[in-house]
Structures are given as structure tokens and as C-alpha cells.
């Protein structure tokens, strides 16, 4: 079986400064994999490089067996979509939900737009009346649902989740996490989740990679979170800081 995401010795730079070094991991199809670490550890940068938002990288990257090039890739967008951290910032303030959700369909020339949009809204648990609302008419949790619906519009296989709940209240976080978990089971998605919240990772993921200073120091099964048996000193420190 080919891996959904395969990174081999990936280095990523921003205008000449290397921020991620020698990252290597494989995510199997249908797996949920997490990258954890502090801000500045490079975890979000890895996601950005996969999504094509950080083009200055070297090494090997392949998505569902296809090597990924450096330029924008329309076919990749069909299989791999990203959900961003801040639903207050990631939705266009002057576009309705309907406009936001039809855009990927228009770009990829897909028909049946109205039905697809209604289905996506249903999938993320939003009522039909939200379809013609603007972002400012919705709560943070509802906006994040729209952002997830947008990512699901092209029926991707892989979802890149960049701290999808860290801008939300704990009670709303629970709803979004349940939603993501249900979607993964229903649509057989592969998740690559970036988070600094270890309990969230414990709830969502199968395996976890700990990053610090641009490197992966340890890849462990999620049981490590349950028992706290990390081997790397930095991972232990992070685990202790999270109240484990």
C-alpha cells in the first residue's frame, strides 16, 4: 500500500533561513498523524510546504504515491486540503458561505454546485439557513465548520489540519473534534494534524511526532500519551508541561 503522505529528508526555508531540517515520516492511508511542538518548532511549516504555501523546500515529498512538485498543483488540491487555525481570519469577510463553498467547485469545473454545497453543509452539521450568511453573522465554531466544509468540497483524501480548534472555547472545541472524527470515519480521510495540545492529539490521532527547533525528535504511538512513556527528554518535558 502506498503512503498517503511520504516525506523524506525534507528541509524547508523562508527566504534563505532554514526552519525545518531533515523531516522524514510516512502517513498511511486512513491514518491520523499528529505533529506537536511549541510555536516556532516548524510544525505548521511542514503543513504549509505540503500544501504549497512554503515553496522553498528540498528533499522528497510524495502525496498518494505522486511526487509533489514545487509549483502550485491543481490535481493536488483535489486530494489534499487544508483547514487553518483561525476561523476569524481564514474566511473572506465579504463573501457569503455560498460564495466561499462554490469557489473550489468553479475552479475545478464541477457541476451540481447547489447539491454539493447543501451536502457539505449537512456533513458539517450546519443548517441550510447558514448558506447565505456572512462570516460576521456566525460564531467561531460555526465559522470553523464552514472552513471544514470548504476543505471537503472537492472530496479530498487527505486533510491538513493546522490547530483547528485552538482559537475556540473548550466546549466548542469538543463539537469540532467530534465532527472531525466522524468525518474521518465516514469519508475514510487521512489526517495530518498540527497541535500544541496533547490531550487533543490523544483524542484525535493514532501516531504523534514531536518537533522542536525544526527537527522531529521522536515519533511515538498515541499510547505514549496515555502512559507518558516518551523516550526523548524534550518530549517528556512537553508532556509534563501539558499536565501529563
Amino acid at each position: 500500500m502506498t503512503a498517503a503522505i511520504s516525506l523524506n529528508n525534507l528541509d524547508i526555508s523562508y527566504s534563505g533561513t532554514r526552519v525545518v531540517e531533515g523531516v522524514t515520516f510516512d502517513v498511511a492511508e486512513g491514518e491520523s498523524f499528529a505533529l506537536v511542538g511549541e510555536s516556532g518548532s516548524g510544525k505548521s511549516t511542514v503543513l504549509k510546504a505540503i500544501a504549497g504555501l512554503a515553496p522553498e523546500w528540498s528533499g522528497e515529498m510524495s502525496i498518494l504515491g505522486q511526487p509533489r512538485g514545487h509549483g502550485p498543483d491543481k490535481d493536488l488540491a483535489r486530494t489534499c486540503q487544508m483547514v487553518f487555525q483561525d476561523p476569524y481570519g481564514s474566511l473572506h469577510p465579504r463573501k457569503t458561505v455560498d460564495a466561499v463553498l462554490s469557489e473550489p467547485l468553479a475552479i475545478h469545473g464541477l457541476g451540481n454546485r447547489s447539491e454539493r454545497i447543501e451536502k457539505a453543509l449537512r456533513d458539517v452539521g450546519l443548517d441550510r439557513r447558514f448558506r447565505f450568511r456572512y462570516p460576521h453573522q456566525m460564531s467561531g465554531g460555526q465559522r470553523q465548520r464552514v472552513a471544514i466544509a470548504r476543505a471537503l468540497m472537492l472530496e479530498p483524501k487527505i486533510m491538513l489540519l493546522d490547530e483547528p480548534t485552538s482559537a475556540l472555547d473548550v466546549s466548542v472545541q469538543a463539537e469540532i473534534l467530534n465532527l472531525l472524527k466522524r468525518l474521518r470515519a465516514e469519508q475514510n480521510l487521512t489526517y495530518l494534524l498540527v497541535s500544541h495540545d496533547l490531550p487533543v492529539v490523544g483524542f484525535m490521532c493514532d501516531r504523534v511526532a514531536v518537533m522542536t527547533k525544526g527537527r522531529i525528535v521522536e515519533i511515538a504511538p498515541v499510547d505514549a500519551l496515555h502512559h507518558g512513556d516518551f523516550t526523548d527528554p524534550y518530549s517528556r518535558q512537553l508532556y509534563a508541561a501539558s499536565g501529563g
Binding site: 511549541e38 490531550p199 487533543v200
Partner: protein
């Protein structure tokens, strides 16, 4: 029994809207001594408004009423603005959520902290500088002289928050109100900042009001906890007895947090229809 530092009875905050006045804080009462009080609730529960009302930071058209709002026996609501200004910062001060927005971007850190001191005390320039230096050291900044000459954009979020704490604590207030002091920070830095607040509060015998949406965090750092929902206090308990909380809202909040040792398939969510408002 000694008089509490702060005594609040039936505090109400209202804002007028086209649909008539909306009450966002509906009768909150508590006493604060030299202890750590946590106020927990979701967005919109009125927890931040409660903190701001104590400092009279709610601007018109917002209205604050209370049966009693007293700091060391002095009624805060009837105090003239001039005296209120002397009290704010010097006796009761507040740490805001995000250091990136709450520090002055065009003033060096040293000058900002010195300003906080100069407003309330009359000290010579060298004495001020020495106090600033000590304060920066107290918040565990290693190289205080260098940091004092830096601008807020040159420091990290965690350091910015420590600068803010330094600024708030330098006039040696009796009460510190911390409104989500760490929600803009990383987990690993969060613990450091809260430990710092904790030690400073203990050493100086201050009262602390910690406002947060994170129940576990509040339970770890406070003695007493108030849980707020839709402007009301729905539960009050000692931090150690949080697991014995009885109100369904508190129980719901507690259950919805993923645990480190997670074995549930779905997280329980709050049934919002069961409560009024929000």
C-alpha cells in the same frame, strides 16, 4: 473576621441595544481576600465584563450597577474618576490577554514599565531605573538592561506577557485581575507565566482574580472557582472539589475537555438548548 479586599454584591452590567437593554452580567456576588479566585466560563458568559466592571472600565453606553462594589471598604461605584484613576493600576491592576495588542509598540519596554511606576509614585530617575530593573528580574527576564531598551515587537509572546506582568505589578497593587493571561501563549510558556504570577501573588500577599475559559488551568492555580454562564454564577466551589461539581453546566464543561488518557470515542458536548440565553 477581617474585611475582604474586594466585596462584590449583585453586580450587573447592561448594554442598550435597538431591541432594548441587554444584561450581560446578571447579579454576580463574591468576596476576595488574599486568595486566588478563578472565574470560568465560555465566550459571552460575562466573565471578562465582570473583571472590567470592577475597574470601572466599561464605557458608556454600558452601565454598571451593584448593591455593593467595595475595595477595602471604599465604594468603587461612587468614587470620582480622579480617585478611581489613582486606584487603578496602583491598588488593583489588570493583565490583558494579548501582549501584542496591549503594549505600546513605539515605546521601549523599560519606558513603559517606568511610566506605570511614575504615574503612581514620585521617584528619582535612578531609583525608577533600579525598580524597573528589579521588576524585570522578578519576572525572570535574564538580561533586564538589554530587554528594557527593546521594543515590544522584538520580544516573544511569553516575554511580552512577562513584561506586561512586570508593568502591572511594579506599583505593588493589592489585587491583580488577569484576564486570559496565557491564552495567546504556548502550553510550555503558559505554565511558566502562571507559575510566575502564582509566586508573585503569594510573596506579596495579593488577591488574584484569574479569568479563563480553561477549567483545568483555573483549578490548578486558584483556591476558589466561580463558574459563569450567560451572565450568572452557576456554581462556586473550592478548586480541589471541582470534580464534585454538581451543576450540569460545570459537569458539561469538564466532560467536554479531552483528557491525556483519552478512551472515549466521542466527546460529550453541551446541550445549549438546556440553558437560557447564549
Amino acid at each position: 473576621m477581617t474585611e475582604p479586599l474586594l466585596s462584590v454584591r449583585d453586580l450587573r452590567v447592561t448594554f442598550p441595544t435597538p431591541q432594548g437593554p441587554v444584561e450581560v452580567v446578571k447579579g454576580v456576588s463574591f468576596d476576595l481576600g488574599q486568595e486566588r479566585l478563578g472565574i470560568v466560563g465560555e465566550s459571552g458568559s460575562g466573565k471578562s465584563m465582570t473583571g472590567r466592571a470592577i475597574l470601572r472600565l466599561i464605557r458608556p453606553p454600558g452601565k454598571v450597577t451593584a448593591e455593593k462594589l467595595a475595595f477595602q471598604g471604599r465604594d468603587l461605584l461612587s468614587l470620582p474618576e480622579r480617585e478611581m484613576r489613582a486606584l487603578r493600576g496602583a491598588r488593583i491592576s489588570m493583565v490583558m490577554q494579548d501582549p501584542r495588542y496591549s503594549l505600546n509598540p513605539v515605546m521601549t519596554i523599560g519606558r513603559q514599565i517606568a511610566e506605570a511606576l511614575r504615574v503612581h509614585e514620585n521617584l528619582s530617575r535612578s531609583a525608577t531605573r533600579a525598580r524597573v530593573r528589579d521588576m524585570l528580574e522578578a519576572v525572570q527576564i535574564n538580561d533586564p538592561d538589554r530587554v528594557a531598551n527593546m521594543y515590544p515587537h522584538e520580544v516573544s509572546g511569553g516575554m511580552g506577557q512577562r513584561v506586561m506582568i512586570a508593568m502591572m505589578l511594579i506599583p505593588e497593587p493589592q489585587i491583580l485581575i488577569a484576564d486570559e493571561p496565557t491564552s495567546a501563549l504556548d502550553v510550555s510558556v503558559q505554565a511558566q507565566v502562571l507559575d510566575l504570577i502564582d509566586t508573585l501573588v503569594k510573596d506579596k500577599g495579593m488577591g488574584l482574580i484569574l479569568i479563563s475559559h480553561d477549567l483545568q488551568l483555573v483549578a490548578r492555580y486558584c483556591d476558589q472557582i466561580l463558574v459563569m454562564n450567560a451572565g450568572r454564577v452557576v456554581e462556586r466551589c473550592a478548586a480541589g472539589e471541582l470534580d464534585k461539581a454538581t451543576h450540569p453546566y460545570t459537569r458539561g464543561l469538564l466532560a467536554s475537555v479531552p483528557r491525556m488518557n483519552e478512551d472515549r470515542d466521542t466527546l460529550p458536548t453541551l446541550d445549549r438548548t438546556a440553558w437560557e440565553g447564549t
